[in-house]
């Protein structure tokens, strides 16, 4: 009560808001965005055509959206959190009936201006939803079965819907983001250990229900030379591209692996491979450092936020972002099986860009309205 009285939410002047904006974060996003545009440009062998144009447009549109939505009050996000979640679930259900199929999976809905991938939005929705959910719960209550089961169900529904598309990669990312918040909220360590053990025990069963192509991907991960021209092709070529980049890389537009079309999906999941081939170890380190700075900034915003919602959201989003980046890079360097996960901002793809920018705008909103107590 004391806090809310001293700082009325309406007391923010426009000038104060502008002052509160984290410009450093915006600059990092802009830099990564520029790198991504040049990388997509390179996938088209230095032609300013389809992919580059699309990517540039999307980045500009969603980046602007990020800046504008940053000024939406964090309390609005708090209040609409469940609606956001329900909307996500509805869109996922919509995919089942009206979705567009591509290469064997049904993930998209045609929204005329773009093909929306609801599972990407769900990645943010689950974080917002869980942040709100745990915002109110006392730390002493968290361990109760009620508060254990409810979020579990909230998490399993979208995961199930996404797995059946099928899209294992996104499902893992959604699950990972959700679990990160549950972890942050303080759920007893033993539950994580137990569920980890259960997962391990049920692994053979899980593998048996996997689709043949998913199985082959996992087998290929352990031995890419098993089928060098089939399932192992992508990872072998990706490693060749990255490895041949060396310390300084082959130079901008000089990546032979991608230029000569040895790299599959170079616009999307393998964009890091292309970047790493052209800019080498140093370039890759710079990019990873930029991502690390981005995550650090988000965590800092979370730390300086007053509300649990903002804290949980920022930490959760930072963890999710880290998870996306880690899974993608680990995948293309051959540390994880190819599951299909885009690299935030870098990868070509509207829905991914939309969800990341949306997520960032909530982070910025947390920063601008950091002292907002949010209805207790």
């Amino acid at each position: 009560m004391i806090y809310s009285a001293s700082l009325n939410s309406n007391s923010y002047s426009f000038f104060e808001k502008l002052k509160a904006v984290d410009y450093f974060l915006i600059i990092i996003v802009a830099i990564i965005g520029s790198i991504s545009i040049f990388s997509i440009y390179s996938t088209e062998s230095g032609n300013f055509s389809f992919y580059t144009k699309n990517h540039l447009t999307r980045f500009l549109v969603f980046f602007s959206m990020f800046l504008v939505l940053s000024f939406v009050r964090v309390s609005v996000w708090y209040r609409q959190a469940y609606i956001f979640y329900v909307l996500g679930i509805l869109l996922l259900l919509l995919v089942i009936f009206f979705g567009i199929s591509a290469s064997g999976s049904k993930r998209w809905i045609n929204f005329f201006i773009m093909n929306l991938q609801p599972s990407e939005l769900m990645k943010i929705a689950i974080i917002v939803c869980f942040a709100r959910y745990y915002h109110r719960i006392q730390s002493s209550d968290i361990q109760s079965y009620k508060y254990l089961l409810q979020p579990l169900i909230l998490l399993l529904i979208p995961c199930y819907l996404v797995i059946t598309q099928p899209d294992l990669g996104t499902a893992i990312l959604i699950a990972g983001s959700g679990l990160a918040i549950i972890w942050l909220a303080g759920l007893n360590l033993k539950y994580f250990i137990y569920s980890g053990l259960i997962l391990l025990v049920s692994l053979p069963f899980v593998i048996s229900i996997l689709k043949p192509y998913q199985k082959s991907r996992i087998l290929t991960f352990f031995n890419p030379d098993r089928d060098p021209l089939g399932a192992g092709y992508q990872i072998i070529q990706s490693k060749i591209a990255i490895g041949s980049g060396g310390l300084l890389g082959k130079g901008f537009l000089q990546g032979t692996q991608s230029y000569l079309e040895f790299l599959p999906e170079k616009h999307t999941d393998f964009i890091f491979t292309l970047f790493s081939e052209e800019f080498g170890f140093l370039g890759s380190m710079v990019l990873i450092l930029l991502y690390a700075l981005l995550i650090y900034r988000i965590i800092r915003i979370g730390s300086s936020s007053r509300s649990f919602f903002a804290k949980l959201y920022c930490f959760g989003f930072a963890s999710a972002l880290f998870l996306y980046i880690f899974v993608n890079i680990a995948m293309v360097v051959g540390l994880l099986p190819i599951v299909g996960a885009p690299l935030p901002i870098m990868s070509y793809g509207g829905s991914s860009m939309l969800s990341i920018m949306l997520g960032l705008s909530i982070v910025m909103s947390c920063k601008i309205y950091s002292q907002d107590p949010i209805g207790n």
């Binding site: 006392q138 730390s139 002493s140 990160a180 972890w183 942050l184 909220a185 303080g186 070529q237 490693k239 060749i240 591209a241 990255i242 490895g243 041949s244 980049g245 060396g246 310390l247 032979t256 692996q257 000569l260 079309e261 040895f262 790493s276 080498g280 170890f281 890759s284 380190m285 990873i288 690390a292 995550i295 965590i299 979370g302 730390s303 649990f308 804290k311 949980l312 930490f315 963890s319 880290f322 880690f326 890079i329 680990a330 360097v333 051959g334 540390l335």
Partner: protein, 648 residues
């Protein structure tokens, strides 16, 4: 307050949990960093190689063969522009369809199509298949007209071997053909430079000088994309053309020789008696080597193979014949050198009624009425058999064999130059024991004395023998490829110094001679023999008197010979049939050896006509025409020799 402490507690939990997450993140980032380090720094080279392997593909380009010329720089084996059609397999969607379309535009035989399919099986998807190596201009222009309908088909201008004097030189130059697995295994140079479609020498100079002629293949490196399509040329290591070769052959004399041999089976060899340069090596009949370049048709092959005059046999080096009377100068020389006879030694030839008798066997002279009392000079000149029966008996086969070998018989003339070259046989008692495991009979010595019996020689050996007699008895080095190391002036000065050298006691013992070393004991013996050969051609009753040149500058000396194909029976002798009345296969081979000009010998030659009858009638007349041509071209050849020496 409870709430506040609860909130504080919650804050604490979140911070602690966040700390764990951040530590985990840093750990995971560490893993990624070390992985990238491992790929990009530690294993960089491995992946660079893999990347290059990915993107670079090599195409080998065939080298051009070296050109072969005669002594006067006339091209006798050339590279000719040919029109070809290649099929780039990566651009072909339906192979059967493409072949069907091509079949309608260019004429492709069923067996050719079969071969194309066989080759396609062995090709890689990005290879180019040669559909036709040698299109006519008409076919080629038609192909270009329909090119838009033929995906992957490429009209190509290429070069292939061409022999402008087709038949005339096939036995010298040989021919080329596709490299077989055997060729690749046997010839290192072929293996190193193998390119699909590479032609290699099969016989003749093309075969023996393949290493020089082939050259080195080029390498084109292309950047290719994932589906193997060429994107750009990275480097082109140009192929190097094979060495050009100058032979010692005189094209004009060779052509004349082939013309003289036309429609007959036989051989003509001409050699420089000092330099050992083979000026002509004609063998008849011939065949067209151009037919082999792109694979000979079964029909053409059968025609060549079934010709009873055996065109494929290079008679100059691979045909074996008894030397007949052409051996007589050597028999006389041997007897003189060993001091068995002197110039006054005479034998009476009394005709068929009184043949030479030895242990009850009777040996006849070819002349029915006999020659009468024969001295050595007359015996060579008139080719009296009885005289040489007696000389051979006195000399013994082993001494004869030794001298015969010394002057070039019984071993290969051009060493390994022609794979088909034969050594021939120079019999001796030892030889018979070793090879036939029988003892030698004196009767066999007697017939060896007139060049019949076991003795077998090639026409080129006879030519070399004549050369080494005519040059005064010096060993020379026969050769077919111009060699600047072989210098006439040096040879002549070497011979001059040999002439004045005192002869060792062992000169008549079996020994190896170096090039240009003297082979004789007493120069007068040789002079006598050569003079007798002069008589044989230029004096009445000489066996080649009718083939002589009256003009001084063309005067030559020679010796006829008749090589018996089968033993002459008493019945044959009684019948005394004309040549035309004898079955072809049973007719004698006609031989003639000669050197010219007589006063200053420079060239030797041998003529052989298979089943031509007597040497004086069938072989010697050809020498007449040849020698005129050879001597007419002497000045020109000497001029070229000087030019070549100056260049060197």
């Amino acid at each position: 307050m409870i709430k506040k402490t609860g909130n504080l507690n919650k804050n604490k939990i979140i911070s602690r949990r966040l700390f764990v997450l951040v530590v985990a993140k840093i750990g995971l980032l560490g893993i990624i960093t070390s992985r990238l380090y491992n790929l990009q720094i530690s294993q960089k080279q491995k992946y660079e190689v893999l990347s290059d392997k990915n993107r670079i593909r090599e195409w080998k380009t065939p080298p051009q063969r070296g050109i072969i010329t005669d002594y006067f720089n006339n091209i006798i084996a050339d590279n000719q522009r040919v029109y070809q059609v290649h099929l780039s397999l990566e651009e072909v969607t339906n192979f059967n369809n493409s072949i069907f379309k091509l079949k309608n535009i260019i004429s492709l035989q069923e067996d050719e199509i079969k071969k194309i399919y066989e080759r396609k099986e062995k090709s890689k998807p990005w290879d180019t298949l040669i559909i036709s190596e040698n299109l006519s201009w008409k076919e080629f222009s038609k192909l270009n007209l329909y090119l838009h309908e033929l995906e992957g088909a490429k009209p190509v201008l290429s070069t292939s071997r061409y022999y402008p004097y087709s038949n005339d030189l096939v036995h010298v130059v040989g021919y080329v053909g596709d490299a077989t697995t055997q060729d690749i295994q046997n010839k290192k140079k072929v293996e190193e430079n193998f390119v699909p479609g590479l032609k290699v020498g099969k016989i003749g100079i093309e075969n023996s000088k393949d290493t020089e002629l082939i050259g080195s293949h080029g390498t084109k490196r292309y950047e290719v994309n994932a589906s193997g399509k060429k994107i750009s040329e990275i480097s082109y290591n140009k192929e190097t053309k094979g060495e050009n070769l100058r032979t010692t052959i005189d094209l004009e004399i060779q052509q004349l020789a082939q013309e003289l041999l036309k429609d007959q089976a036989g051989s003509i060899c001409v050699m420089d008696i000092y330099t050992g340069e083979v000026i002509t090596m004609a063998s008849s009949p011939t065949y067209d080597p151009n037919k082999f370049t792109h694979g000979i048709s079964t029909n053409d092959w059968n025609k060549i193979k079934n010709n009873r005059l055996r065109p494929l046999l290079n008679k100059s080096v691979a045909g074996l014949y008894s030397p007949g009377s052409t051996l007589k100068p050597l028999v006389a020389l041997a007897a003189l050198e060993y001091g068995i006879i002197d110039t006054k030694f005479k034998v009476n030839c009394k005709g068929h009624d009184h043949p030479y008798e030895l242990y009850g066997e009777r040996y006849h002279c070819w002349k029915k009425n006999g020659h009468g009392l024969m001295s050595m000079r007359n015996a060579i000149k008139q080719s009296c058999d009885i005289y040489f029966y007696e000389v051979a008996r006195l000399l013994g086969v082993d001494k004869l064999s030794l001298i015969t070998k010394r002057y070039g018989l019984g071993s290969k003339v051009l060493e390994d130059f022609f794979s088909e070259e034969k050594k021939g046989i120079v019999p001796s008692t030892k030889w018979k024991k070793q090879v036939l495991e029988q003892s030698w009979y004196l009767g066999e010595t007697v017939i060896t004395g007139i060049g019949q019996g076991y003795i077998q020689t090639t026409p080129l050996q006879l030519c070399l023998m004549t050369a080494q007699l005519a040059n005064g008895g010096y060993k020379i080095k026969p050769n077919l490829i111009y060699d600047k190391e072989i210098d006439l002036d040096i040879i002549k000065s070497k011979i001059e110094s040999e002439k004045n050298k005192s002869v060792s006691q062992n000169i008549l013992k079996d020994q190896e001679f170096k090039y240009y070393e003297r082979l004789y004991r007493n120069p007068n013996n040789l002079k006598l023999v050569l003079d007798a050969m002069y008589g044989s051609t230029n004096e009445q009753f000489g066996t080649s008197f009718r083939s002589r040149h009256k003009e001084d500058k063309y005067k030559f000396a020679g010796k006829t010979g008749t090589s018996q194909v089968k033993r002459i029976t008493d019945k044959d002798r009684e019948l005394d049939l004309d040549l035309e009345e004898i079955e072809y296969k049973s007719r004698d081979h006609a031989l003639f050896i000669a050197f010219a000009p007589y006063d200053k010998p420079r060239y030797s030659l041998s003529v052989l006509i298979e089943h031509g009858g007597s040497g004086s009638k069938a072989a010697a007349p050809l020498a007449n025409k040849l020698i005129k041509k050879i001597l007419d071209r002497h000045e020109l050849r000497e001029k070229i020799r000087k030019d070549l020496k100056n260049i060197a």
